[in-house]
C-alpha cells in the first residue's frame, strides 16, 4: 500500500536531527545534541584525570579537575536551557521530543558523574598533601581498571548519542555488571587490608568512596545509554535488566 508511494517521497536522512522543513529547527536540535556530546567529552576527561591524579598523588592534576568543575555545571545549565527552549519554541513531537527530553535527563547524569570526579580529585589532593597511600596502592589495579571501564562506558554512551545508535547503547548497559563485580572485588581487598592494619582506616574509607564514585559513574553512563535507546527507539529501558548483563 502506501509504503511504496511514501518511500519514493520520504527522506533518507543521513543525520537523524535534520530534514525539517523549518531549518531553524534542524539547527536547534543539532546544537542541542552537539552541546550534550561536548559536555560528555568534558566529563569523560574529568573522570580519567581525577583517577590519574589519585593514582599518581598529583596535586596539579587534581586541581585541574576541580577548576573545570564549574565548566561542567555551566554546560548542564546551557544544555538544559536549550532543551527547554526547544520544547517551548518548536513544540517537537515523536523522535524530536524524545531527543529534547532525554538530553535534558542526560545532563543531570553527566553533571553527577562530574561531581563524583570532583570528589575523587579532592581525595587525590589530600593524598598529594601527604596522607598515607597504602590503601590506594592496595587497590590501584582495581581503580585503574574501573576508571577504564567507566570512561569506556561513558565514551560509548556519548558516541551512541552522537550516532543515535541504540545497539551501541544497549551494549553499554550490559557492561555495568562487570563494573559492579570489580567494585565488589576491590571492597574485599580493602576489607582484608583494614582488618590487618587499622592505622589507615580514614584513608581506607576515602578509598572506598573513590571506588564507589567510579561505580556510580558507571551507573550514570548506563542511564545515559538508556536515554539513547529511548531516543532511537522509544523504548523506556529504565529499571529493566540488561539482557546481556547479569
Amino acid at each position: 500500500m502506501a509504503e511504496l508511494a511514501l518511500g519514493e517521497r520520504s527522506f533518507m536522512l543521513s543525520d537523524p536531527m535534520e530534514g525539517h522543513t523549518a531549518k531553524a529547527f534542524d539547527g536547534a536540535l543539532t546544537e542541542l545534541r552537539l552541546h550534550a556530546v561536548g559536555m560528555g567529552g568534558l566529563v569523560i576527561d574529568q573522570v580519567s584525570t581525577a583517577v590519574r591524579a589519585l593514582l599518581d598523588a598529583d596535586a596539579n592534576l587534581a586541581q585541574t579537575v576541580l577548576a573545570r568543575e564549574s565548566q561542567v555545571n555551566d554546560l548542564e545549565r546551557t544544555v538544559d536551557r536549550e532543551a527547554f527552549e526547544l520544547i517551548a519554541l518548536h513544540q517537537p513531537v515523536a523522535g524530536d521530543l524524545r531527543m529534547a527530553t532525554a538530553v535534558s535527563r542526560m545532563t543531570v547524569e553527566l553533571e553527577r558523574a562530574g561531581d563524583e570526579s570532583k570528589k575523587i580529585a579532592r581525595f587525590a589532593g589530600r593524598m598529594a598533601g601527604g596522607e598515607p597511600q597504602g590503601p590506594v596502592r592496595a587497590v590501584a589495579r582495581y581503580l585503574q581498571h574501573m576508571a577504564e571501564l567507566t570512561t569506556g562506558m561513558l565514551r560509548d554512551a556519548v558516541r551512541a548519542l552522537d550516532e543515535s545508535n541504540a545497539d551501541l547503547a544497549e551494549r553499554v548497559r550490559a557492561r555495568d555488571s562487570e563494573l559492579d563485580a570489580e567494585f565488589a572485588a576491590a571492597l574485599r581487598q580493602l576489607m582484608t587490608l583494614a582488618m590487618q592494619d587499622q592505622r589507615y582506616l580514614g584513608v581506607t574509607i576515602d578509598t572506598v568512596f573513590a571506588l564507589k564514585g567510579l561505580e556510580r559513574i558507571g551507573d550514570h553512563a548506563k542511564n545515559i545509554a538508556e536515554q539513547v535507546v529511548f531516543i532511537a527507539s522509544g523504548r523506556d529501558m529504565r529499571h529493566k535488566k540488561s539482557q546481556a548483563g547479569a
Partner: protein, 293 residues
Amino acid sequence: METAVANEDAARNAHNPASPTGSQTPRVSIAVDDTRKVRTLHVKAAVDNLSFYYGQHRALKNLTIPIAERQVTALIGPSGCGKSTFLRCFNRMHDLQPDTRYEGSITLHPDDLNLVGPGVDPIEVRMRIGMVFQKPNPFPKSVFENVAYGLRLRGMRNRATLAEEVEKALRGSALWDEVKDRLQDSALALSGGQMQRLCIARALATTPEILLFDEPTSALDPIATAKIEELISTLRDQVTVLIVTHNMQQAARVSDYTAFMYLGELIEFDEAAKIFTNPAKKATEDYITGRYG
C-alpha cells in the same frame, strides 16, 4: 497499514448481519506493548475497505478504521491526502456532487446501518451525523432560530420544549452564558468564535450520534480556538467526534485516537499519545515532525 488495532475482527464483524447489536456492539481493543494498557471500547462506526471515487479518480483507497464510541478521532495528513473526503463520506456530502461513488462500507452501530450503502437515504444519514465546517455558517436568523431549526424540521412545535432544547444545546456548546440575553438577536452579529459554537449548538440540538468537524478552528483566533478545543473535549461525554485538522498540535491536544492519511490511504492509526511520541511508521514521524515536503 500500521495499526495498533488488535481486534480488527471486531470491526469487521460489524458487517455481518448476524452480528450482535444494541449493548453488544463490537468492541475494539487497542494493542499494547509491555508499557501500555489495553483499552477496550465500543465501535460506533466501522469503516471497512472504504474507497471513494471522483469520476475515475480514486480519492480514498481501501480504508479500514474503527471509530471508537464517545472518543475523539482526529484525521491528519497533508493537503490532498483525502482526510476531508473521508470525513464527508460519513454524512454523504459527496452525494451533492455528480459522478461520485463509494465502495466498501461505513457501518453505524448499534443498528448496523451502512452509511454509504446504495439504498440508504442521505437525509436519514444526516439526521444522525452532524457536521461543523471550517467557516462558521449560521443561518441569517436569530440565535434561537438557528438552534431550533433542526428541531422544527423534526416536527417539534411546542414552544416550551423548543426553548428547553435550545437552552440545552447552547449550554452544551458553552455558549449559553454569552447569548442567553440576546437569543432573538441575529446570529450574524456574534463573533467568529461564538458563531462556530452556535453551529456546534445547532448540530448538537438534534442529538447526533457522530459529530464531524472539518477544520473547525482554522478561521478563529487562539482564544476562540481554545474554547472550541475545550468544547470538543467535553463533547466526548455525549457524542462520537471525528475531526479533520491541519494543526498537528490540535490533533495531539484534542484527540484520543489519530489516523495519519497520505495519498488516500491510511498509513497509521493509533492512540494519539502513541502517534505523537513514538509512531510506528517513519512516514508518520516525518510528517508530524515537519520533515515532509
